[in-house]
Protein backbone atom coordinates (compact mmCIF):
# COMPACT_ATOMS: atom_id res chain seq x y z
CA UNK A 1 0.00 0.00 0.00
CA UNK A 2 1.07 3.59 -0.70
CA UNK A 3 2.68 5.39 2.18
CA UNK A 4 2.96 9.14 2.05
CA UNK A 5 5.69 10.82 4.13
CA UNK A 6 4.95 11.31 7.81
CA UNK A 7 4.72 15.08 7.62
CA UNK A 8 2.05 14.87 5.00
CA UNK A 9 0.06 12.45 7.10
CA UNK A 10 0.15 14.86 10.03
CA UNK A 11 -0.78 17.75 7.80
CA UNK A 12 -3.73 15.88 6.33
CA UNK A 13 -4.94 14.99 9.77
CA UNK A 14 -4.81 18.59 10.94
CA UNK A 15 -6.60 19.83 7.84
CA UNK A 16 -9.27 17.17 8.16
CA UNK A 17 -9.84 18.07 11.78
CA UNK A 18 -10.94 21.57 10.82
CA UNK A 19 -14.26 22.04 9.07
CA UNK A 20 -14.43 23.90 5.81
CA UNK A 21 -13.75 27.57 6.49
CA UNK A 22 -16.49 28.79 4.18
CA UNK A 23 -18.97 27.76 6.83
CA UNK A 24 -17.81 30.65 8.98
CA UNK A 25 -19.58 33.07 6.73
CA UNK A 26 -22.74 33.44 8.85
CA UNK A 27 -20.69 34.27 11.95
CA UNK A 28 -18.46 36.73 10.19
CA UNK A 29 -21.49 38.32 8.53
CA UNK A 30 -23.25 38.61 11.89
CA UNK A 31 -20.26 40.32 13.46
CA UNK A 32 -19.89 42.61 10.48
CA UNK A 33 -23.55 43.67 10.53
CA UNK A 34 -23.45 44.18 14.29
CA UNK A 35 -20.37 46.36 13.95
CA UNK A 36 -21.97 48.46 11.25
CA UNK A 37 -25.25 48.94 13.13
CA UNK A 38 -23.59 49.96 16.36
CA UNK A 39 -22.81 53.62 15.89
CA UNK A 40 -23.60 54.85 19.36
CA UNK A 41 -22.31 53.57 22.65
CA UNK A 42 -24.99 51.09 23.56
CA UNK A 43 -24.48 49.66 27.04
CA UNK A 44 -26.30 46.47 26.14
CA UNK A 45 -25.00 45.68 22.70
CA UNK A 46 -21.53 47.06 22.27
CA UNK A 47 -19.96 46.63 18.86
CA UNK A 48 -17.46 43.88 18.22
CA UNK A 49 -14.69 46.46 18.10
CA UNK A 50 -15.65 47.51 21.59
CA UNK A 51 -15.29 43.91 22.70
CA UNK A 52 -11.73 43.93 21.53
CA UNK A 53 -11.04 47.21 23.30
CA UNK A 54 -12.55 45.85 26.48
CA UNK A 55 -10.32 42.82 26.34
CA UNK A 56 -7.24 44.90 25.71
CA UNK A 57 -8.12 47.02 28.72
CA UNK A 58 -8.27 43.91 30.84
CA UNK A 59 -4.99 42.67 29.46
CA UNK A 60 -3.25 45.95 30.15
CA UNK A 61 -4.60 46.06 33.67
CA UNK A 62 -2.78 42.81 34.22
CA UNK A 63 -5.86 40.84 35.19
CA UNK A 64 -6.43 38.85 32.04
CA UNK A 65 -3.43 36.57 31.91
CA UNK A 66 -3.50 35.43 35.54
CA UNK A 67 -7.19 34.62 35.18
CA UNK A 68 -6.66 32.76 31.93
CA UNK A 69 -3.81 30.72 33.30
CA UNK A 70 -5.72 29.94 36.50
CA UNK A 71 -8.65 28.56 34.52
CA UNK A 72 -6.42 26.65 32.12
CA UNK A 73 -4.28 25.08 34.81
CA UNK A 74 -7.26 23.95 36.87
CA UNK A 75 -8.90 22.54 33.78
CA UNK A 76 -5.90 20.60 32.52
CA UNK A 77 -4.89 19.39 35.94
CA UNK A 78 -8.43 18.31 36.72
CA UNK A 79 -8.67 16.45 33.43
CA UNK A 80 -5.36 14.73 34.00
CA UNK A 81 -6.44 13.48 37.42
CA UNK A 82 -9.82 12.48 36.03
CA UNK A 83 -8.13 10.47 33.28
CA UNK A 84 -5.86 8.65 35.69
CA UNK A 85 -8.58 7.85 38.19
CA UNK A 86 -11.29 7.22 35.65
CA UNK A 87 -9.13 4.86 33.64
CA UNK A 88 -7.93 3.03 36.72
CA UNK A 89 -11.34 2.53 38.28
CA UNK A 90 -12.93 1.86 34.91
CA UNK A 91 -10.43 -0.89 34.15
CA UNK A 92 -11.01 -2.49 37.54
CA UNK A 93 -14.74 -2.49 37.11
CA UNK A 94 -14.54 -3.71 33.55
CA UNK A 95 -12.15 -6.53 34.26
CA UNK A 96 -14.02 -7.84 37.29
CA UNK A 97 -17.63 -8.27 36.21
CA UNK A 98 -18.67 -8.99 39.74
CA UNK A 99 -17.50 -5.54 40.78
CA UNK A 100 -19.46 -4.07 37.91
CA UNK A 101 -22.64 -5.81 38.98
CA UNK A 102 -22.15 -4.91 42.62
CA UNK A 103 -21.40 -1.24 42.11
CA UNK A 104 -23.59 -0.77 39.06
CA UNK A 105 -26.75 0.63 40.67
CA UNK A 106 -24.77 2.88 43.00
CA UNK A 107 -22.81 4.31 40.09
CA UNK A 108 -25.98 4.75 38.05
CA UNK A 109 -27.49 6.74 40.89
CA UNK A 110 -24.44 8.94 41.26
CA UNK A 111 -24.27 9.42 37.53
CA UNK A 112 -27.84 10.74 37.41
CA UNK A 113 -26.80 13.71 39.52
CA UNK A 114 -25.72 16.47 37.16
CA UNK A 115 -22.16 17.67 37.84
CA UNK A 116 -23.17 21.34 38.25
CA UNK A 117 -25.42 20.35 41.11
CA UNK A 118 -22.40 18.99 42.94
CA UNK A 119 -20.68 22.38 42.92
CA UNK A 120 -22.56 23.82 45.93
CA UNK A 121 -21.90 20.60 47.81
CA UNK A 122 -18.20 20.96 47.23
CA UNK A 123 -18.33 24.61 48.22
CA UNK A 124 -20.04 23.67 51.46
CA UNK A 125 -17.64 20.87 52.26
CA UNK A 126 -14.39 22.34 51.17
CA UNK A 127 -14.82 26.06 51.28
CA UNK A 128 -13.80 28.66 48.78
CA UNK A 129 -10.40 27.57 47.54
CA UNK A 130 -8.47 26.11 44.65
CA UNK A 131 -8.57 22.62 46.06
CA UNK A 132 -12.35 22.64 45.98
CA UNK A 133 -12.34 23.89 42.42
CA UNK A 134 -10.01 21.11 41.34
CA UNK A 135 -12.07 18.48 43.14
CA UNK A 136 -15.24 19.55 41.40
CA UNK A 137 -13.60 19.45 37.98
CA UNK A 138 -12.30 15.96 38.68
CA UNK A 139 -15.70 14.77 39.89
CA UNK A 140 -17.41 16.17 36.81
CA UNK A 141 -14.89 14.93 34.26
CA UNK A 142 -14.39 11.47 35.70
CA UNK A 143 -17.79 10.03 34.80
CA UNK A 144 -17.63 9.82 31.02
CA UNK A 145 -14.08 8.51 31.19
CA UNK A 146 -14.86 5.94 33.85
CA UNK A 147 -17.99 4.69 32.15
CA UNK A 148 -16.46 4.51 28.70
CA UNK A 149 -13.40 2.72 30.01
CA UNK A 150 -15.34 0.18 32.04
CA UNK A 151 -17.74 -0.61 29.25
CA UNK A 152 -14.91 -1.04 26.76
CA UNK A 153 -12.94 -3.19 29.19
CA UNK A 154 -15.97 -5.42 29.61
CA UNK A 155 -16.27 -5.67 25.86
CA UNK A 156 -12.75 -6.77 25.04
CA UNK A 157 -13.29 -9.56 22.58
CA UNK A 158 -13.27 -12.94 24.35
CA UNK A 159 -11.02 -14.33 21.65
CA UNK A 160 -8.36 -11.81 22.56
CA UNK A 161 -8.60 -13.01 26.15
CA UNK A 162 -8.27 -16.57 24.90
CA UNK A 163 -5.13 -15.54 23.06
CA UNK A 164 -3.82 -14.05 26.30
CA UNK A 165 -4.47 -17.29 28.14
CA UNK A 166 -3.13 -19.39 25.31
CA UNK A 167 0.13 -17.48 25.45
CA UNK A 168 0.14 -17.80 29.23
CA UNK A 169 0.20 -14.07 29.94
CA UNK A 170 0.32 -12.99 33.56
CA UNK A 171 -2.65 -10.90 34.73
CA UNK A 172 -0.44 -7.83 34.73
CA UNK A 173 0.79 -8.47 31.18
CA UNK A 174 -2.72 -9.20 30.02
CA UNK A 175 -3.84 -5.82 31.34
CA UNK A 176 -0.82 -4.00 29.95
CA UNK A 177 -0.57 -5.63 26.51
CA UNK A 178 -4.16 -6.45 25.63
CA UNK A 179 -6.84 -4.81 27.72
CA UNK A 180 -5.34 -1.36 28.05
CA UNK A 181 -4.55 -0.91 24.33
CA UNK A 182 -8.02 -2.21 23.50
CA UNK A 183 -9.72 0.47 25.55
CA UNK A 184 -7.61 3.41 24.40
CA UNK A 185 -10.17 4.52 21.77
CA UNK A 186 -12.88 4.45 24.45
CA UNK A 187 -10.76 6.45 26.88
CA UNK A 188 -10.20 9.09 24.23
CA UNK A 189 -13.91 9.23 23.52
CA UNK A 190 -14.53 9.66 27.23
CA UNK A 191 -12.06 12.54 27.41
CA UNK A 192 -13.70 14.16 24.43
CA UNK A 193 -17.08 14.03 26.19
CA UNK A 194 -15.59 15.13 29.50
CA UNK A 195 -13.89 18.20 28.04
CA UNK A 196 -16.96 20.44 27.66
CA UNK A 197 -18.35 19.32 31.01
CA UNK A 198 -15.07 20.19 32.69
CA UNK A 199 -15.05 23.62 31.10
CA UNK A 200 -18.61 24.34 32.17
CA UNK A 201 -17.98 23.24 35.74
CA UNK A 202 -14.75 25.24 36.01
CA UNK A 203 -16.49 28.38 34.85
CA UNK A 204 -19.48 27.70 37.07
CA UNK A 205 -17.31 27.49 40.15
CA UNK A 206 -15.55 30.69 39.20
CA UNK A 207 -18.83 32.51 38.62
CA UNK A 208 -20.38 31.29 41.85
CA UNK A 209 -17.41 31.85 44.10
CA UNK A 210 -15.29 34.46 42.29
CA UNK A 211 -12.25 32.26 42.74
CA UNK A 212 -9.52 33.42 40.34
CA UNK A 213 -10.34 32.63 36.74
CA UNK A 214 -12.04 33.80 33.56
CA UNK A 215 -15.48 33.16 35.02
CA UNK A 216 -14.72 35.36 37.99
CA UNK A 217 -13.46 38.06 35.66
CA UNK A 218 -16.66 37.81 33.67
CA UNK A 219 -19.02 38.11 36.60
CA UNK A 220 -17.06 40.99 38.04
CA UNK A 221 -17.27 42.77 34.68
CA UNK A 222 -21.00 42.15 34.59
CA UNK A 223 -21.48 43.55 38.08
CA UNK A 224 -19.59 46.66 37.05
CA UNK A 225 -21.69 46.97 33.88
CA UNK A 226 -18.59 46.67 31.72
CA UNK A 227 -20.57 45.11 28.89
CA UNK A 228 -17.82 45.24 26.29
CA UNK A 229 -15.58 43.28 28.63
CA UNK A 230 -18.32 40.72 29.19
CA UNK A 231 -18.77 40.14 25.48
CA UNK A 232 -15.05 40.17 24.90
CA UNK A 233 -14.51 37.53 27.53
CA UNK A 234 -17.33 35.48 26.06
CA UNK A 235 -15.58 35.42 22.72
CA UNK A 236 -12.33 34.60 24.46
CA UNK A 237 -13.93 31.64 26.21
CA UNK A 238 -15.42 30.49 22.93
CA UNK A 239 -12.04 30.60 21.20
CA UNK A 240 -10.42 28.92 24.16
CA UNK A 241 -12.91 26.06 24.08
CA UNK A 242 -12.54 25.76 20.33
CA UNK A 243 -8.78 25.61 20.56
CA UNK A 244 -8.91 22.98 23.26
CA UNK A 245 -11.34 20.85 21.31
CA UNK A 246 -9.37 21.04 18.10
CA UNK A 247 -6.04 20.38 19.74
CA UNK A 248 -7.56 17.35 21.37
CA UNK A 249 -9.13 16.20 18.10
CA UNK A 250 -5.76 16.32 16.37
CA UNK A 251 -4.11 14.58 19.30
CA UNK A 252 -6.79 11.90 19.23
CA UNK A 253 -6.47 11.39 15.49
CA UNK A 254 -2.71 11.04 15.76
CA UNK A 255 -2.97 8.58 18.61
CA UNK A 256 -5.56 6.48 16.82
CA UNK A 257 -3.57 6.15 13.60
CA UNK A 258 -2.77 2.55 14.36
CA UNK A 259 -6.38 1.55 15.05
CA UNK A 260 -8.79 0.39 12.35
CA UNK A 261 -10.72 3.42 11.07
CA UNK A 262 -14.09 2.44 12.46
CA UNK A 263 -12.95 2.84 16.05
CA UNK A 264 -12.35 6.55 15.60
CA UNK A 265 -15.19 8.49 17.20
CA UNK A 266 -17.75 10.34 15.13
CA UNK A 267 -16.74 13.87 14.38
CA UNK A 268 -20.08 15.18 13.15
Amino acid sequence: MMRSPAWRQYFTLVVEALPSARGLLPLVALLGVWQLLQTGNSPYFPSPLDWWNGLMLLAKSGRLYPALSATTITLLLGLAVAVLMGTGIGLLIGVFPRLSRAFGPLLEFLRAIPPPAVVPVAILFMGYDERMKLTVVVLAAIWPILLNTSSAAERVHPLLLDVARSFRLSAFDRMRLIILPSVVPAILLGIRVALPVAIVVTLLVEILTSIEGIGALMISAQRNFQSSQVYGLLVLIGLFGLLLNNVFAVFEALLLRRWPPKTQSQSF
Partner: protein, 259 residues
Amino acid sequence: MDRDRFIAGINWSGTAVFVFVGLAWEAAVRSGLLEYEYLPAPSAIGLGFAELASQGILAPDIAHTLISVAIGWTVAIVLGISLGILLGLSPIARRYSLASIAVLRPMPAVAFAPVGLLLFGFSLKTEMVVTIPPVLWPVLVNTIGGVTGVHQRLYDVGRTFRLSRKDTILRIILPAAMPPIVVGARISLGLALVLAVVAEMVGNPEGLGYGIVREQQALRPDLMFAYIVTVGLIGIVLNAGMLALAQAFLPSFRQLRGG
Protein backbone atom coordinates in the same frame (compact mmCIF):
# COMPACT_ATOMS: atom_id res chain seq x y z
CA MET B 1 -40.09 -21.82 36.39
CA ASP B 2 -40.59 -18.12 35.91
CA ARG B 3 -40.23 -17.29 39.57
CA ASP B 4 -36.74 -18.80 39.67
CA ARG B 5 -35.74 -16.91 36.61
CA PHE B 6 -37.09 -13.67 38.06
CA ILE B 7 -35.17 -14.15 41.27
CA ALA B 8 -32.05 -14.98 39.34
CA GLY B 9 -32.52 -11.85 37.26
CA ILE B 10 -32.46 -9.40 40.16
CA ASN B 11 -29.15 -7.74 40.76
CA TRP B 12 -28.75 -8.93 44.34
CA SER B 13 -25.19 -7.79 44.84
CA GLY B 14 -25.96 -4.40 43.33
CA THR B 15 -28.97 -3.79 45.53
CA ALA B 16 -27.04 -5.05 48.52
CA VAL B 17 -24.19 -2.62 47.93
CA PHE B 18 -26.63 0.23 47.48
CA VAL B 19 -28.53 -0.53 50.65
CA PHE B 20 -25.34 -1.22 52.56
CA VAL B 21 -23.79 2.10 51.61
CA GLY B 22 -26.96 3.88 52.65
CA LEU B 23 -27.10 2.10 56.01
CA ALA B 24 -23.39 2.53 56.66
CA TRP B 25 -23.66 6.23 55.92
CA GLU B 26 -26.57 6.57 58.32
CA ALA B 27 -24.82 4.63 61.05
CA ALA B 28 -21.54 6.48 60.59
CA VAL B 29 -23.14 9.89 60.96
CA ARG B 30 -25.30 8.94 63.90
CA SER B 31 -22.56 7.25 65.83
CA GLY B 32 -20.28 10.21 65.31
CA LEU B 33 -17.80 8.23 63.23
CA LEU B 34 -18.13 10.63 60.33
CA GLU B 35 -18.00 14.06 61.84
CA TYR B 36 -18.24 16.36 58.91
CA GLU B 37 -20.10 19.42 59.94
CA TYR B 38 -21.92 19.47 56.66
CA LEU B 39 -22.57 15.80 55.96
CA PRO B 40 -26.17 14.90 56.74
CA ALA B 41 -27.38 11.35 57.29
CA PRO B 42 -29.77 9.91 54.72
CA SER B 43 -32.55 10.13 57.27
CA ALA B 44 -31.89 13.83 57.69
CA ILE B 45 -32.20 14.26 53.94
CA GLY B 46 -35.52 12.48 54.03
CA LEU B 47 -36.69 14.79 56.80
CA GLY B 48 -35.43 17.71 54.75
CA PHE B 49 -37.72 16.60 51.94
CA ALA B 50 -40.64 16.57 54.30
CA GLU B 51 -39.77 19.98 55.64
CA LEU B 52 -39.57 21.55 52.19
CA ALA B 53 -42.73 19.90 51.01
CA SER B 54 -44.74 20.80 54.09
CA GLN B 55 -43.65 24.40 53.87
CA GLY B 56 -44.90 24.52 50.32
CA ILE B 57 -41.49 25.48 48.96
CA LEU B 58 -40.62 22.37 47.03
CA ALA B 59 -43.57 22.24 44.68
CA PRO B 60 -43.25 25.78 43.28
CA ASP B 61 -39.53 25.29 42.82
CA ILE B 62 -40.07 22.07 40.90
CA ALA B 63 -42.72 23.80 38.84
CA HIS B 64 -40.44 26.70 37.99
CA THR B 65 -37.63 24.46 36.86
CA LEU B 66 -39.96 22.29 34.84
CA ILE B 67 -41.45 25.32 33.13
CA SER B 68 -37.99 26.56 32.33
CA VAL B 69 -37.08 23.16 30.93
CA ALA B 70 -40.29 23.00 28.92
CA ILE B 71 -39.87 26.40 27.30
CA GLY B 72 -36.19 25.97 26.58
CA TRP B 73 -36.59 22.49 25.20
CA THR B 74 -39.57 23.34 23.04
CA VAL B 75 -37.87 26.35 21.49
CA ALA B 76 -34.73 24.33 20.89
CA ILE B 77 -36.69 21.47 19.31
CA VAL B 78 -38.66 23.71 16.98
CA LEU B 79 -35.61 25.72 15.94
CA GLY B 80 -33.35 22.70 15.80
CA ILE B 81 -35.59 20.48 13.74
CA SER B 82 -36.62 23.13 11.24
CA LEU B 83 -33.09 24.44 10.77
CA GLY B 84 -31.81 20.89 10.74
CA ILE B 85 -34.13 19.84 7.95
CA LEU B 86 -33.18 22.90 5.91
CA LEU B 87 -29.50 22.27 6.36
CA GLY B 88 -29.91 18.55 5.89
CA LEU B 89 -31.55 19.00 2.53
CA SER B 90 -29.22 21.63 1.13
CA PRO B 91 -25.54 20.80 0.73
CA ILE B 92 -24.83 24.42 -0.16
CA ALA B 93 -26.42 25.68 3.03
CA ARG B 94 -24.35 23.18 4.93
CA ARG B 95 -21.13 24.23 3.32
CA TYR B 96 -21.76 27.79 4.40
CA SER B 97 -22.83 27.09 7.94
CA LEU B 98 -21.35 23.93 9.42
CA ALA B 99 -18.14 25.63 10.47
CA SER B 100 -20.14 28.28 12.32
CA ILE B 101 -22.01 25.57 14.17
CA ALA B 102 -18.73 23.85 14.96
CA VAL B 103 -17.41 27.09 16.41
CA LEU B 104 -20.52 27.94 18.42
CA ARG B 105 -21.24 24.47 19.70
CA PRO B 106 -18.42 24.16 22.22
CA MET B 107 -19.40 27.44 23.89
CA PRO B 108 -19.89 26.60 27.54
CA ALA B 109 -23.48 27.40 28.45
CA VAL B 110 -22.64 28.98 31.75
CA ALA B 111 -20.54 31.63 30.01
CA PHE B 112 -23.74 33.09 28.62
CA ALA B 113 -24.99 33.82 32.13
CA PRO B 114 -23.18 37.12 32.62
CA VAL B 115 -24.40 38.26 29.21
CA GLY B 116 -27.94 37.28 30.10
CA LEU B 117 -27.66 39.06 33.44
CA LEU B 118 -26.40 42.15 31.67
CA LEU B 119 -29.34 42.23 29.31
CA PHE B 120 -32.20 40.91 31.38
CA GLY B 121 -31.12 40.91 35.00
CA PHE B 122 -32.50 38.15 37.19
CA SER B 123 -35.33 36.73 35.14
CA LEU B 124 -36.63 33.81 33.17
CA LYS B 125 -35.23 35.39 30.01
CA THR B 126 -31.73 35.07 31.40
CA GLU B 127 -32.41 31.42 32.08
CA MET B 128 -33.39 31.02 28.46
CA VAL B 129 -30.19 32.68 27.28
CA VAL B 130 -28.24 30.07 29.19
CA THR B 131 -30.48 27.12 28.36
CA ILE B 132 -31.43 27.43 24.70
CA PRO B 133 -28.13 27.56 22.77
CA PRO B 134 -26.57 24.39 24.17
CA VAL B 135 -29.85 22.49 24.05
CA LEU B 136 -30.21 23.46 20.41
CA TRP B 137 -27.10 21.68 19.23
CA PRO B 138 -27.93 17.99 19.83
CA VAL B 139 -31.25 18.33 18.08
CA LEU B 140 -29.80 20.37 15.22
CA VAL B 141 -26.82 18.11 14.67
CA ASN B 142 -28.84 14.93 14.93
CA THR B 143 -31.49 16.25 12.57
CA ILE B 144 -28.88 17.19 10.00
CA GLY B 145 -27.30 13.80 10.43
CA GLY B 146 -30.64 12.05 10.19
CA VAL B 147 -31.69 13.86 7.03
CA THR B 148 -28.36 13.48 5.28
CA GLY B 149 -28.23 9.86 6.34
CA VAL B 150 -31.42 8.92 4.55
CA HIS B 151 -30.48 6.13 2.21
CA GLN B 152 -30.29 6.95 -1.47
CA ARG B 153 -32.64 4.08 -2.19
CA LEU B 154 -35.45 5.87 -0.41
CA TYR B 155 -35.07 8.86 -2.68
CA ASP B 156 -35.32 6.49 -5.62
CA VAL B 157 -38.55 5.11 -4.17
CA GLY B 158 -39.94 8.65 -4.04
CA ARG B 159 -39.04 9.22 -7.65
CA THR B 160 -40.59 5.90 -8.69
CA PHE B 161 -43.86 6.98 -7.18
CA ARG B 162 -43.48 10.45 -8.73
CA LEU B 163 -43.85 12.19 -5.39
CA SER B 164 -43.66 15.98 -5.26
CA ARG B 165 -40.77 17.57 -3.42
CA LYS B 166 -42.99 18.40 -0.48
CA ASP B 167 -44.41 14.89 -0.31
CA THR B 168 -40.96 13.34 -0.55
CA ILE B 169 -39.88 15.34 2.46
CA LEU B 170 -42.99 14.74 4.51
CA ARG B 171 -43.62 11.11 3.72
CA ILE B 172 -40.19 9.62 3.14
CA ILE B 173 -37.33 11.72 4.43
CA LEU B 174 -38.82 12.90 7.68
CA PRO B 175 -40.00 9.48 8.89
CA ALA B 176 -36.68 7.96 7.89
CA ALA B 177 -34.77 10.60 9.81
CA MET B 178 -36.97 10.26 12.88
CA PRO B 179 -34.85 7.89 14.99
CA PRO B 180 -31.74 10.09 15.23
CA ILE B 181 -33.97 13.14 15.67
CA VAL B 182 -35.70 11.49 18.59
CA VAL B 183 -32.36 10.54 20.12
CA GLY B 184 -31.26 14.15 19.76
CA ALA B 185 -34.45 15.33 21.42
CA ARG B 186 -33.89 12.96 24.31
CA ILE B 187 -30.32 14.16 24.86
CA SER B 188 -31.55 17.73 24.65
CA LEU B 189 -34.14 17.11 27.33
CA GLY B 190 -31.57 15.90 29.83
CA LEU B 191 -29.34 18.79 28.90
CA ALA B 192 -32.21 21.27 29.32
CA LEU B 193 -32.72 20.13 32.88
CA VAL B 194 -29.06 20.49 33.78
CA LEU B 195 -28.85 23.90 32.16
CA ALA B 196 -32.03 25.15 33.80
CA VAL B 197 -30.51 24.21 37.14
CA VAL B 198 -27.25 25.93 36.26
CA ALA B 199 -29.09 29.01 35.06
CA GLU B 200 -31.01 29.11 38.32
CA MET B 201 -27.77 28.93 40.25
CA VAL B 202 -26.25 31.98 38.61
CA GLY B 203 -28.87 33.78 36.61
CA ASN B 204 -32.23 33.63 38.29
CA PRO B 205 -32.90 33.12 41.95
CA GLU B 206 -35.82 30.75 41.55
CA GLY B 207 -36.39 27.07 41.09
CA LEU B 208 -34.39 24.01 42.11
CA GLY B 209 -31.00 25.40 41.11
CA TYR B 210 -31.46 28.40 43.32
CA GLY B 211 -32.73 26.10 46.05
CA ILE B 212 -29.45 24.23 46.06
CA VAL B 213 -27.37 27.38 46.29
CA ARG B 214 -29.67 29.03 48.81
CA GLU B 215 -29.53 26.10 51.22
CA GLN B 216 -25.79 25.87 50.73
CA GLN B 217 -25.39 29.46 51.76
CA ALA B 218 -27.83 28.98 54.62
CA LEU B 219 -25.67 26.09 55.82
CA ARG B 220 -28.54 23.63 55.62
CA PRO B 221 -26.90 20.61 53.94
CA ASP B 222 -29.90 18.39 54.60
CA LEU B 223 -32.14 20.63 52.52
CA MET B 224 -29.41 21.13 49.93
CA PHE B 225 -29.10 17.39 49.38
CA ALA B 226 -32.85 17.08 49.25
CA TYR B 227 -32.86 19.52 46.34
CA ILE B 228 -30.06 17.67 44.60
CA VAL B 229 -31.82 14.34 44.91
CA THR B 230 -34.94 15.97 43.54
CA VAL B 231 -33.03 17.12 40.49
CA GLY B 232 -31.65 13.63 39.98
CA LEU B 233 -35.08 12.05 40.30
CA ILE B 234 -36.66 14.48 37.87
CA GLY B 235 -33.90 13.73 35.42
CA ILE B 236 -34.63 10.02 35.64
CA VAL B 237 -38.38 10.59 35.26
CA LEU B 238 -37.94 12.88 32.27
CA ASN B 239 -35.60 10.46 30.58
CA ALA B 240 -37.87 7.49 31.19
CA GLY B 241 -40.87 9.47 30.01
CA MET B 242 -39.11 10.44 26.84
CA LEU B 243 -38.07 6.86 26.23
CA ALA B 244 -41.62 5.65 26.71
CA LEU B 245 -42.96 8.31 24.38
CA ALA B 246 -40.39 7.49 21.76
CA GLN B 247 -41.11 3.80 22.12
CA ALA B 248 -44.78 4.47 21.54
CA PHE B 249 -44.17 6.41 18.35
CA LEU B 250 -41.33 4.34 16.98
CA PRO B 251 -41.93 0.85 18.35
CA SER B 252 -39.63 -0.83 15.89
CA PHE B 253 -36.57 1.20 16.70
CA ARG B 254 -34.49 -0.33 19.41
CA GLN B 255 -31.51 1.97 19.11
CA LEU B 256 -33.38 4.54 21.19
CA ARG B 257 -32.12 2.86 24.30
CA GLY B 258 -28.56 3.81 23.44
CA GLY B 259 -26.83 7.11 24.07
